[in-house]
């Protein structure tokens, strides 16, 4: 059986290679990073993800919690999350090019239909975030859109209506280009797109007002993974950060918009990203990677994996504010936020 090779180039910042030895799922939907798909990479990939069964080489390891086999720059374990179970071996865990071998099983029906998607969701995002931070970039857990090369970045926890506001913004004018609904790459004062699951995003934008996808929606997407061409989303390549906006849901009776200092908002965004490592609403596999980091740190306390504040790149933003929405906002609330963001972007 021959393996399939695919390459991903994240704006020339980070390169990734996926080697799939056995399975393919539904095209389009199966690949959260399809937007970054390229024919080849100019350099050695920063991350190599090898899917399929493998023989781990975990001799001379420390054993933590009966489970994690750790030696310098290396981790192997057998693990479970919900109904998924997997074996994973990570070489280059701490530094250098990272090679992950992953054999993911189980997961019920989801695991049968979309094995590649879940394999790519398990650790990849966190590793990409780590590789990006080594290059001075932050992979923000945020939604974003740009117009006239000026971007608004909306960060907030799951359920804070980031996506809803983004959709509303994209519909308000064809000039708006999406940066991503779950991730945006930030460096200095610039933002780059990080679209994940573009097929789902396109489908939502053209057919849905809310975030909930029914079984029928999922079936429709599976039938037409390329998405509705008429509503094809263009992604902005790079833009200056015009506004950094914190989104909150609850705690207020009506829509409230207040100014916050840029430093405070940047700190709040990093705090949210720390929680995102533990509890990712869109990517799942909660607490998996942070536990690997901690098990590694128990054996190698002096490691290069910067998990605290010292690993956060310095950012500069022109304006910053906080938008608090009631728990069930009306359509007019989302419209008002969208109007406000249009205004800010024009300043």
């Amino acid at each position: 059986m021959s393996a399939s090779y695919s390459f991903y180039d994240f704006h020339g910042l980070v390169g990734m290679q996926v080697i799939d030895h056995e399975r393919s799922g539904l095209p389009g939907l199966d690949d959260p990073f399809s937007y970054f798909h390229v024919g080849s990479l100019p350099d050695i990939p920063d991350v190599t993800l090898e899917l399929g069964s493998f023989e781990p080489q975990f001799a001379d390891c420390y054993l933590v919690d009966h489970k994690y086999h750790v030696r310098h720059n290396y981790l192997y374990c057998e693990d479970t999350w919900r109904r998924f179970r997997w074996r994973v071996e990570i070489e280059g865990f701490e530094s250098g090019p990272t090679h992950i071998r992953l054999d993911l099983r189980g997961g019920g029906l989801r695991g049968v239909i979309l094995p590649g998607m879940y394999s790519k969701m398990l650790l990849t995002r966190q590793l990409l975030a780590h590789k990006l931070s080594e290059k001075g970039c932050a992979l923000a857990h945020a939604a974003g859109a740009a117009r006239n090369r000026r971007a608004v970045v909306l960060f907030g926890r799951g359920g804070s209506y980031k996506t809803s506001v983004l959709m509303s913004l994209l519909r308000s004018s064809p000039e708006w280009r999406a940066l991503g609904d779950d991730g945006v790459i930030l460096k200095g004062g610039q933002a780059w797109s990080f679209p994940t699951f573009p097929a789902i995003f396109r489908y939502r934008l053209s057919h849905k007002d809310n975030e909930a996808l029914t079984v029928l929606d999922r079936l429709k997407m599976a039938m037409n993974p390329a998405g509705d061409d008429a509503a094809r989303v263009c992604y902005a390549s790079g833009a200056e950060i015009a506004a950094l906006v914190e989104m909150r849901a609850g705690g207020v009776d009506k829509l409230t918009i207040e100014e916050v200092s840029a430093a405070q908002n940047v700190a709040a965004m990093y705090t949210g990203m720390r929680l995102e490592q533990h509890n990712s609403v869109n990517m799942g596999f909660n607490d998996v990677y942070p536990q690997y980091l901690e098990a590694y740190a128990y054996i190698f306390p002096q490691n290069e994996l910067k998990t605290g504040e010292e690993g956060n790149p310095v950012l500069s933003v022109a304006a910053s504010c906080r938008v608090s929405l009631p728990l069930s906002p009306g359509r007019d609330d989302l419209q008002s936020v969208s109007d406000f963001l249009n205004e800010i972007n024009d300043l």
């Binding site: 919690d65 009966h66 926890r157 909660n286 607490d287 098990a295």
Partner: protein, 355 residues
């Protein structure tokens, strides 16, 4: 028959807490939550408010004015509600806590009967840890023994030999037992934390086995069988009170040696840098209370300066303040299966005079 009982616990006068279990009789019979802390039990005095109150049973969360995070947490000033956590086999629990900004902490926990065995380890112990941390005490995930007023601590991750070495030191070397899973360190003094021993096949000392009743032995064998049949998926520790066969417990002693245990192929022992030890102890504690790392990160999204949000930054600082300069610090590596020979070596290194 009373439907609920309030009981009071006092941890070395550092902090007090009440437990009120409103669960049904069958749940109580299956998992006795209060039993875990019976070594700290004191006379209940309704006139004295405790530092924390834990109420087990269904509750109505107080969500007015809360910010919602990820659809699972609800947060406002001093208040955090986690609407549900799933664990293996459909075990579920939820909790809320108020009083995080000062005053008495009140924790309310609801769990289904499968989730019930986990609420002590995953929620109650974590809040006791939080409370002790507020009092400037460092809770260590470690076992400890004492001799001549000097304490020797063995910190390790699960299966690292904490219980094995503490029991061996107590039974073979006649040292006083101070705890097999947690101990408290405050200003250079180690305080005991006697909770039920968590026994499993690999750490069962023959002296413990002799002391078990026929019923307990059957139960122990049954859980070992379940563990084997489910290929290790279900692992239930048998709780045994240490006071039954270890009457020579010690309340407090000066920290002499802190040993960090790691598991690998062979035995070795080497001195350990102070900063490295503190960092490893913090990782150890985080892994032990990993869901609490997540809850603290959630609360931090709204109240980044609060004590709960900064818990994992203050832990190493408090530990550094409590760890005396003169204490010997070393890393002991043991094989996965701790043989009698390794036990003797590790005890000699861990409790002996030579550093």
């Amino acid at each position: 028959m009373t439907s609920s009982t309030m009981s009071r616990y006092d941890i070395h006068c550092f902090c007090t807490f009440d437990i009120l279990d409103r669960s049904g009789g069958l749940s109580k019979a299956l998992v006795d939550v209060q039993r875990r802390y019976h070594c700290f039990r004191v006379e209940h005095d309704p006139a004295m408010l405790p530092d924390m109150r834990v109420i087990i049973g269904g509750f109505e969360p107080d969500l007015t004015g809360c910010t919602r995070l990820d659809d699972v947490w609800w947060v406002k000033q001093g208040y955090l509600c986690h609407s549900g956590e799933q664990y293996k086999l459909g075990a579920r629990w939820a909790f809320d806590v108020s009083g995080l900004d000062g005053g008495m902490i009140e924790v309310r926990i609801a769990a289904n009967w499968l989730g019930r065995p986990f609420i002590t380890g995953k929620i109650m112990d974590a809040f006791i840890f939080y409370l002790l941390q507020q009092r400037g005490c460092s809770l260590l995930h470690a076992s400890a023994v004492a001799g001549d007023g000097e304490a020797f601590v063995f910190a390790a991750r699960g299966g690292g030999g904490k219980t094995t070495l503490a029991l061996a030191a107590a039974f073979q070397n006649g040292m006083a037992f101070m705890g097999d899973n947690f101990v408290i360190l405050k200003d250079g003094i180690v305080y005991s934390y006697l909770s039920d021993l968590n026994m499993f096949g690999y750490n069962l000392h023959p002296r413990v086995w002799e002391n078990l009743t026929a019923f307990e032995r059957t139960r122990f064998r049954l859980w070992a069988l379940v563990h084997r049949l489910t290929l290790g998926y279900i692992k239930v520790f048998s709780a045994v009170s240490p006071l039954r066969f270890l009457p020579w417990a010690c309340d407090s002693a000066q920290l002499k040696k802190l040993n960090l245990m790691r598991t690998s192929d062979g035995y070795s022992c080497a001195p350990l840098l102070r900063e490295d030890l503190i960092s490893c102890m913090t990782s150890n504690m985080k892994l032990e209370f990993f869901s609490f790392v997540r809850h603290a990160a959630a609360y931090a999204c709204r109240f980044p300066e609060s004590a709960l949000a900064t818990l994992w930054e203050t832990y190493p600082q408090t530990l550094a303040a409590n760890l005396p300069e003169e204490a010997a610090l070393q890393a002991i590596t043991v094989p996965e299966r701790i043989t009698d020979e390794v036990k003797v070596q590790a005890l000699a290194a861990g409790t002996g005079e030579a550093a």
